[in-house]
Amino acid sequence: MTRRVAIAGVGISKFGELWEQSIRDITLEAGMLCIFDSGIRGGDIDAICIGNMSAGRFTGQEHLGALAADMGGLGNIPSYSVEAACASGGAAVRQAYMAIRSGEHDAMMVLGMEKMSDVTQTEAMNTMSVASDWEWEGLGGATFPALYALMARRHMYEYGTTEEQLSLVTVKNHANAAHNPYAQFQRPVPLEVVMRSGFIADPIRVLHSSPVSDGAAGLVMCSEEKARELTDTPIFIEASTQASDTLALHDRKSITRMDSVIISSREALKRAGLEMDDIGVIELHDSFTISEIIQMEDIGIAKKGEGGKVVEEGVTQIGGKFPVNTSGGLKARGHPIGATGVAQIVELVYQLRGEAAGRQVEGAERGMAVNIGGTGATSIVHILGR
C-alpha cells in the first residue's frame, strides 16, 4: 500500500447547453482528450471508472461503463460507473485512486459526465431533487435551492453574513471563468447585476446558483512508475478521503456547517502530511454561493462565521492567499453533475502544471478539491501535488 497514484493526462469538453451533442459525443470527447494529453496507448488502460448521477433519467441511457469501453474501442476491460449525487465525479476519482494504489490496476481512465439539457426544466429539477432525502425533503417540495436557502438564512442569522457577500462569490467565480475556455459562462458579472437577479428561494437568487449544464471531463490515472514513462509533468494524488453525513438537513446538529467536509478535509491534510497553509489553489463545491462560504469555513481558510468576510477581503481571489475556484467553480464553469468532481481535478492539474492561462496561480505546488453531494451528505476531498 505504498504506491503513489499519479494523473498523467486530463481532458474536458466545453461545458454549457450542448444542444448539438449527445452524452456519447461528450463522453468520447473527454475520453479522447485525456488519452491524447497523457500519451498513453489505449491498450495500456486497464479499467474505466465513471462518475455519473442520473444518465438514465436525463438521457434514457444507463450502463455507461460498457458504453464508454465500447465507444472508446478499449476492448474487454472492466468498466463501471459510480453514483454519489453531485459527488459522483469525485467518487470515480477515488475508486480509481484505490484500485491503482492497491495494485489491482496500473492505469485507468476516469470519466465524469452529465447531459442535463435534454429534459424539461421540471424533469431536471425533479431528477436533481432525488439526491436529497426524498421521503422527508424532496417529496415535501424542498428542492436544493430551498434547502440551501435555509442554510443561507441561518448563516445570515447566526453570523451576519450578507446578501452582498453571497453575491461577491458569484462576481469572483465569473471573473475567473472569463479566462477558462471550457466554462459555461465566460464573462464577468457586476455585483449590482447579481444583486438584482431574481429570487429562486429567498435569499438565493438566480446568479447565486449553479446552472443546468452538459459536459464531460476525463483523467488518465496510473502508478507513479507508469506516469514517469508517459510524462515529465505527472501530478500526484497526495490524499483521497471521503465522509458522509445525514442525508436530510433537519437531522444535523448545525445547518451552517458540513461535518462531512470538516472530517474529510482534516483527514486528507493529515494523510498528506500538510496544513492548509501548504495548499496554493482550491476548488470548492459552490452549487450555491453559500455553499462556497460554508466550505471555506469547514476546510479552515476562514474562521467559523467569517467566510463571507474573507471573501470580501479578497483572500479567495486569484492573487489572494487561498485562491478558490479559479475555473469559475460550479457557478460559472457549469455543473454537469457527474462531471463536476472530475472537472475540479482537471482544473487543479492545469494549475499545478502551470497551464491555466489567464487564471494561473503563480507557484502553486499543491491543490485541494472538495466535491460534495446533496447538502453535504457526501464529501470527497482530494489533495494534489506536483
Binding site: E17, W19, E20, S117, T120, Q121, G198, F199
Partner: protein, 346 residues
Amino acid sequence: MVGIVGYGVYVPRYRIKTADIANVWGADPNIGKALGVFEKSVPGPDEDVATISVEAARNAIKYGKVDATKIGAVYVGSESHPYAVKPTGTIVAEAIGCTADITCADYEFACKAGTAAIQTCMGLVKSGMVELGLAIGSDTAQGRPGDALEYSAAAGGVAIIVGDKKPVATIEDTVSYTTDTPDFWRREGEDFPSHGARFTGEPAYFRHVGEGAKSLLRKTNTTVDDYDYFVFHMPNGKFPLSMGGQLRIPPEKLEDGLVVRSIGNTYSASAMMGLARILDIAEPGSKIFMVSYGSGAGSDAFVIKVEKEIEKHRGEVPTVDDYIERKTYVDYSVYAKYRRKIVALG
C-alpha cells in the same frame, strides 16, 4: 416590382398588465421589465382569428384602395385557427367581398405562417397567376395558466395585399432558413402549447433569425448600415434586442417596431405588426429589414423599401398606434373568463 399595395392591422381592445398576471402566480411583479412586455392584448369573448383577420383585411383594402374582386388568392396564417378542419380563409374571403374565383388556404408555421403567406403571394403575383394576393398573419395565442407563455401570448392580426401596381412599399428580396427544430409545439387536441424552455432561445430563435438575416444580407450584398429599420419576430421584448446586439444593429433602428412591449406577442402577426408600425411612420425611400420566426423552426427575411406612393394612402384607416392606444384593461378573472380558462364554464 412586387410589393405591398395595402396593409391593415387589428388589435383587440382588451389589455391585461403582465404585473397582474405575475400577481396571480406569485411571480416577480417587475416581470414586465425583465421580459420587455408590460401589457398584452386579450381577445374579447366574441373574437377569434376569423374576426380579427376580417378586421385587418378590411383595413388593408381600404388603405390600398383596391377592389376586393381583383384579389385572386387569400392565405391566412395562424396557429389558432378556430377550426382544426375547415378554412379560416374562406370566411375572410367572403366577408371582405372576394369572388369565388380565388385560390385560398390556411397556413400554419407557428409564428411565421403570415410571412410564408406573403412569400406565396409574391410568387403568384410575379408569375402573373393572380393580380392581387391577400396574406394574413393572425392569432389568438394560447398560454397555459401559470406558464411563462401566459405573460406574452396575445392576439392581433395583420393583412397585407401583395401586388405589382403602385405598391406603397416594394419587397425587394426575400429568403428563408428552415430546419427541423422542435422548440415549441401543440399537438392535435391539446389546448395549450408546450415548449423546450431555454431550448427556444439559442438553438431555435437566435439561430434561425440570425442565419435568415445573414443569408439575406449576403444575397443582397448589403450591410446593417444600408437599412433604416429592423424588425424581428417578438416573442418578448428581450429577444429581438439581443438578436440586434448579435448582428451589431444600433438599438434605435429596432425601437420603432417593438410593439411587443404594449400588446404582447401576437404570434403570426408579430413581426408583421412591427413592420406595419414602421410603414405607418417611415419616410419614402426608407429601407426596412424584417425577419419573422416560426417555431419548429424557420425564418423568413425580407428587404422592403418604402415608396412615395405611401403618402397617398395614409390616414385612411387606424394605425398600429391607434389600436395600441384604444384599450380597456381587464383583470385576471375577466381575462380568464374571456380566454375560456374557467373549466366549469365549459
